[in-house]
């Protein structure tokens, strides 16, 4: 057994309600089992091109159900949630901001992820806008102008493209998608299995 266990990797898209639900719970889960957490925002749209899939609400039959299920899951888990409009949105701006924070202030990432998710799924703010993303992060004491400049940087655009490509290569096809010691778990509704895995080292 390693002295320091590997971090949990949490892949998510900022436009994914189930990603939001998972994000509100994964930190506590990691902390309970002495694990660090790596936040990996990626672009679900790029993955859909590989799987031939599309945003859930656009799928016949499954679409209307999924909107109903998202709201019910939020009530079941007691997580504040209002189905946003527009939905889905492009999430380059908030995703790049997280990779910028990884270099500048990694200890702020968790608060930033949750603040951006809440802005979209609770307050209905369109975080696809770089300005809105900057405004949300400014409420955490970060420099809004610096965030705004960062999300337009070629290096961060490249970083997000690479992370999304890596996600596809690792088999990530949905959000959230969690790796624990290489074991893949798709969906916030597999966090009970993630917990068992952390507790027992595999089953």
């Amino acid at each position: 057994m390693k002295a320091v266990p590997d971090p949990i990797e949490f892949y998510f898209d900022f436009s994914s309600p189930y990603g939001y639900f998972g994000a509100t719970r994964i930190s506590q889960l990691a902390a309970n089992y002495g694990r660090a957490l790596v936040w990996r925002p990626f672009l679900l749209g790029a993955v859909f091109k590989v799987t031939g899939s599309g945003p859930l609400p656009s799928v016949p039959l499954k679409g209307p159900y999924s909107k109903h299920d998202m709201s019910r899951c939020a009530r079941f888990l007691d997580i504040p949630f209002t189905f946003p409009d527009p939905f889905p949105i492009s999430t380059q701006a908030p995703a790049r901001a997280i990779y910028w924070l990884e270099q500048r202030a990694p200890q702020r990432i968790e608060a930033a992820v949750l603040a951006l998710y809440r802005a979209y799924f609770v307050d209905g703010r369109d975080i696809s806008s770089p300005q809105t993303t900057a405004d949300v992060l400014a409420t955490l004491g970060l420099d809004g102008a610096e965030v705004l400049a960062a999300v337009g940087e070629p290096a961060l655009k490249e970083r997000l493209r690479n992370e999304t490509q890596t996600a596809v290569e690792r088999g990530v096809f949905g959000s959230p998608y969690v790796f624990v010691d290489g074991e893949p778990f798709w969906g916030h509704d597999r966090l009970d299995q993630v917990e068992r895995w952390l507790k027992t080292g595999g089953f």
Copy 2:
């Protein structure tokens, strides 16, 4: 509140591992909350034509994951399971047998569903064969020759077509799919929400 609450409706395809997992748990859940249970086998293939979807293992990225997830879910839930070959299979024969039982011996349906599921997902028997379906039901004391004749009857073919059509009209797009007082739940991983719904009357 009704003196006798409505039954729980359990839609499933005999080729669905998640349908099997749900089937092993739904009876106890219904019994715990004083509900009758209506078993509704249907043909998932007909639904996939409407949604433009296909059997999970054939979907890029999601396919390999789903096979892994099915086996892990079985271990998590402590349900015996061996991924069968061939998979998926046509399920007209076992589905029609259940509708035949509904007329002839409704009290045997639950045992028949579980015996057929176990034959396929534990013993690897190909229940798409009418003869195999008849053999499995014969182990429950039913008349195998009678079952074999029944699954070829035009009236039972028509019944299954109608039930599948009704399923699509009600929005059923996957297996298992459960209705509690009209509220739809997709997936064995929503049975915890089904239980809360039964307990509280909705949330």
